[in-house]
Every structure is written in structure tokens, then in C-alpha cells.
């Protein structure tokens, strides 16, 4: 029994290592080793980046005194289609979403996600 549990743990560990390596290969994780840097450089050669105007001149950037203020690093919205529908319906009806309704929708989503994982 114990052996079985250990083997399951090993499999999960191996899977997580594979997933991490695949994420680095896709570029979903920032490179942290020379090999991972090489992978990004290959992607860069295939598709050279365009430098936006505001990043083109390093001296201007330094002068701008910007230190991350205003930079938006929040996660992008990933919403359940059902919730989107409810929000759209409410918007069409011209209603405000109350905190209670928003909380209920959040709980509904969690229940739905919980069921999906069973």
C-alpha cells in the first residue's frame, strides 16, 4: 500500500517536471537556465520582436522615472461562459450586479468546477 502511494507520488512528480519543461518550451514560464534561454532565442529568431516606441530609447525610459507604478500585472480575466451570459443578461436589463449576486455567481462557478473534477 505504502509502495503504491510512493509510486503514485513519483508519477506526479515526474508529470509536474514534464509539465514545467513543456511550459518553458512554450514560453509560459520565464526562462531560468541557459537551456531555456536558448529555446526563447530560437523563437525570437523565427519571429523577431517589434520594439514599441516607448521602449526604443533607453535614455528616455530612464528619464521617465517609471518604477513599475501603474504597470498592470493582474491576471487576465478567465471567466466561465455561464457567468459571462449572466453578466451580459444583467447588463442588457440595465441592472447593476450586487455584491451578493456576484458572490452567488462565484459560488455557482466553484460548484460547477467541483462537479467537473469528480
Amino acid at each position: 500500500m505504502k509502495r503504491e502511494k510512493e509510486s503514485h507520488g513519483d508519477c506526479n512528480e515526474r508529470l509536474e517536471k514534464l509539465v514545467s519543461a513543456a511550459m518553458h518550451a512554450i514560453g509560459w514560464l520565464l526562462p531560468q537556465s541557459v537551456d531555456e534561454v536558448r529555446a526563447i532565442e530560437e523563437a525570437m529568431e523565427a519571429d523577431p520582436p517589434t520594439i514599441p516606441q516607448w521602449l526604443a530609447d533607453p535614455y528616455e525610459l530612464l528619464k521617465s522615472n517609471r518604477r513599475g507604478e501603474g504597470a498592470d500585472h493582474r491576471l487576465g480575466d478567465v471567466r466561465d461562459p455561464g457567468i459571462e451570459e449572466n453578466l451580459s443578461r444583467a447588463a442588457r436589463d440595465g441592472k447593476q450586479i450586487s455584491p451578493e449576486v456576484a458572490e452567488k455567481m462565484r459560488k455557482d462557478r466553484e460548484v460547477a468546477e467541483g462537479k467537473a473534477s469528480e
Partner: protein, 227 residues
């Protein structure tokens, strides 16, 4: 270094021929020779921005809001100017290619640390890398058979829901599978609950479900214990 401090005090500062290690050293002269330090940083910036921008855009795509990758690249370069150069450990290798890759890994490690802190609504104060992080830079990457890698990538891009993908990506940012004691710390889980607008139990369920899908996609044999 090919240039002395006095030599750099000329009207036209051209540091294009300098190594990254030397540029980073010149940047530490900011108090005594700000013009040379700024010019060294500008050279370093132009040399590495395209790489950093590519890495940060790829990382932010599908995870953060539009433009966040560019913000992250800019913040990383500014952090190098503010504090980073003094924390850089000079390269021991004499191979210029390895040295170049090592500097880029260091840069993107700083970007990673900034990104993790931002996700946790914290400002990164110190950017010293730990001994583990330095050792990880030159560690060979996990070797994955190409057919397993292809199946896994396809499954990650197509079989997972957006939310499963997001949870898996954020959890992977916190937990390096090669780091000992890699379980998510309590405070990181609390941050994730807030950031993802859900409970930790639900985060665990989503993660488990996502990993099951990926395991099914690559097959049991691929994820068996390493031999």
C-alpha cells in the same frame, strides 16, 4: 576590462565592444561616473531588450492583461539599473557564448521574481538571487522525449480550459519542481485565492483535474518514475 574608468570619461562613450560582465561592472560606477554608468546600461539594454521582450511577452500572453509583458521587460531593465548590477555574480566561464546565455538567464530570473511578487501585490525590494537560483542557471534542462513533449504541449494548449491553464501556470510559477520543499507556501496560496477569486480547495481541484487531463494525454508510461 578593456577600458579604465579615466578612459571612459570621454565625450563619446561607446561600450559596444564590452562584455556583459564589464558593462554590469561599469553600471556600478553610478555614483562616481554616472555618465559612463548610464551609457553602459544603455548598451546592455539595447543588447538584451529584444530577448527579454520576447520572453516577457510569451510569459504574459494568455495569463496577464495586454501590454503586461512589455511593462515587465521595462521594469526588469530598470531594476538592473537601480539595484541589479551590484548583485550580479561575475561569470567564471571563459566561453563567451555561455557567458551571454548566463546573463540572459539572470535577467529573466529577475523578471520572474518581479512577476511573482506583482502577482502577490508585493513590490520586489531585493533582487539578489539565492545560491539555488544561481545554480539553476547552468543546470541542464529536463530532457523530454520529443513525442511526449509534443503531446503535452498540444494538450496544454487545447485540452485544458482557460481557467485550468491559468491555475497550472500560476502554480508552476511558484513551485519549481526541481527545488526541494517546493510545496506552495501558505501565504502564496492565500494570494492565489485572492488573485484567482476562488478558494484554495477549488484551486487544488482545478490543478488535480488539469494534471489528470495531461497525464491522460501523454500516457502512463511517459510519467512513470524516472529510471
Amino acid at each position: 576590462m578593456n577600458r579604465t574608468k579615466a578612459e571612459s570619461e570621454t565625450k563619446f562613450l561607446d561600450f559596444d565592444g564590452e562584455t556583459d560582465d564589464d558593462l554590469l561592472e561599469i553600471m556600478t560606477w553610478r555614483e562616481t561616473d554616472p555618465e559612463a554608468a548610464r551609457a553602459a546600461w544603455a548598451t546592455f539594454y539595447k543588447r538584451h531588450l529584444p530577448f527579454l521582450l520576447t520572453a516577457c511577452r510569451k510569459y504574459a500572453q494568455g495569463l496577464l492583461r495586454d501590454g503586461a509583458g512589455e511593462d515587465l521587460a521595462a521594469d526588469t531593465m530598470l531594476r538592473v539599473w537601480d539595484r541589479g548590477a551590484a548583485t550580479y555574480r561575475r561569470c567564471e566561464t571563459t566561453d563567451p557564448e555561455t557567458a551571454r546565455l548566463r546573463v540572459r538567464a539572470w535577467l529573466s530570473r529577475i523578471a520572474h521574481n518581479i512577476a511573482v511578487n506583482r502577482l502577490r501585490c508585493r513590490t520586489l525590494q531585493e533582487i539578489d538571487l539565492t545560491d539555488f537560483e544561481w545554480s539553476r542557471i547552468t543546470e541542464p534542462a529536463e530532457r523530454v522525449p520529443s513525442e511526449v513533449s509534443d503531446r503535452l504541449r498540444a494538450a496544454m494548449e487545447t485540452a485544458l480550459t482557460d481557467r485550468e491553464r491559468q491555475v497550472l501556470r500560476v502554480v508552476a510559477m511558484y513551485a519549481d519542481p526541481r527545488q526541494p520543499g517546493r510545496h506552495l507556501p501558505e501565504d502564496a496560496l492565500s494570494d492565489l485565492e485572492r488573485g484567482l477569486g476562488t478558494t484554495r480547495e477549488n484551486i487544488r481541484q482545478i490543478k488535480t483535474r488539469a494534471l489528470s487531463k495531461l497525464k491522460a494525454a501523454v500516457g502512463d508510461e511517459a510519467v512513470g518514475p524516472e529510471k
